[in-house]
Amino acid sequence: MNLFVKLLLCSAVACFAEPASQAAPSDPPESIYHLQARLTNQAGQVHGLDVYRGQPVLITMFYGRCPMTCPLLIDTLKTIERHTSAEQRARLRVLMISVDPENDTPAALHRLAKQRRIDLTRWTLARADEKTVRKIAAVLGIRYRKLPNGAYNHSSVITLLDQNGVVVARSSEIGKADQAILMQLK
């Protein structure tokens, strides 16, 4: 009987566990904001994947200790911004999510933002636990793997989300502003 009660409690807890999605009911079925993700930004603040809900967002994954591709990725994001009008730029946001939660602490992300002169009123650098990173990579179609020396291989993809979190453009072009993204921003 005791066992029965325990099992009953146990399954009741499972039933009351948080749902898989915290998306607003109006989110379209394709919205990545259906993913419940707990992110921590460079200031140590906790928020969801939808931190910039309501605005177009350039979203990408990177890691701070990356010697080559990631600095180029930041340059590419800045290049895209430079190709937009002042009005577009005022609306556009950037969310960079680390694949390396071990090293990319809020302090490390903050240092990187300072070093690269990133405007933190419009950009967010964030980390999440390993499981969440996997799911974010999955909704973005980003492939990555950790190498034995602690570095990562990852695909350099910049994704543009509309105000509801739906993917409207995706680019692997590094070093210049992809026309596909600029077209969507107009």
Partner: protein, 277 residues
Amino acid sequence: MRSIALPSIAASLLLLGSPAEAAGTHVVSDAPLQITIPAGEFASVLPPAPGVKTVRVAAFRLDHTPVTNEQFARFVARHPEWRRDRVPRVFADDGYLSHWKSATEIEPGQRNQPVVHVSWFAASAYCEARGARLPTWHEWEYVAAASATEPDGRKDEQWRQNILAWYSKSARQPLPVVGKTPVNYYGVHDLHGVVWEWVDDLSAMLVSNDNRQQSEPDTLRYCGPGALSMEEKENYATLMRIAMLSSMQANYTSKTMGFRCASDLGPKQERIHEPLR
């Protein structure tokens, strides 16, 4: 199928059957049994980096069969956000659970067949609801390398032939029920001969467009003659798995893609593992 209007109570009943069952006369299994897999090292066909030959796998637990339709239906009853008529497209494509009778009911003949038409997100959610996770690719490959008598049977000609025979069979035949193939060295069923299976680190299966040196994933992309360091033809069946997984997005579903779950061992249990021969 019961209504899910009272999710917590109905689900508890669904899970447990009746109190008499919970007391031990007949426990309705909500999940496959798990087998403890000892830690060890093996040569993976997907090495972690160029020049690194062996992979170390920590001790873990693995379901002894793939998850069945019946087991997955119980999960869906308790987590209705994973019903095929409610799941957002971002988590599962149009084929999700399309073989079921309805959003909550399976056909009687499907009960013990492995659940297929499930996305990576849905498979992950099922395992998480059990406090488990999907196995990593290396964990899966490590256990799947075992023959009936050896932890690494990959050099055994007969074993290889048996596996290749399955991969050459038509996918049109109905799926077998789980647990009917002979157990391997560890006591695990159906790693070959039943369905393809999702892995936790799906996103690590292929790195396609990083600019840095990455000889192995790159050759993998052009899977075919000369794929990977393929001097070992016996790994062909495993390479087909990798090719299949690397072509899948996490919300894709397929009529031959199922899954099983894995769990970590506590640190106490990890210390008592015996090294493999």
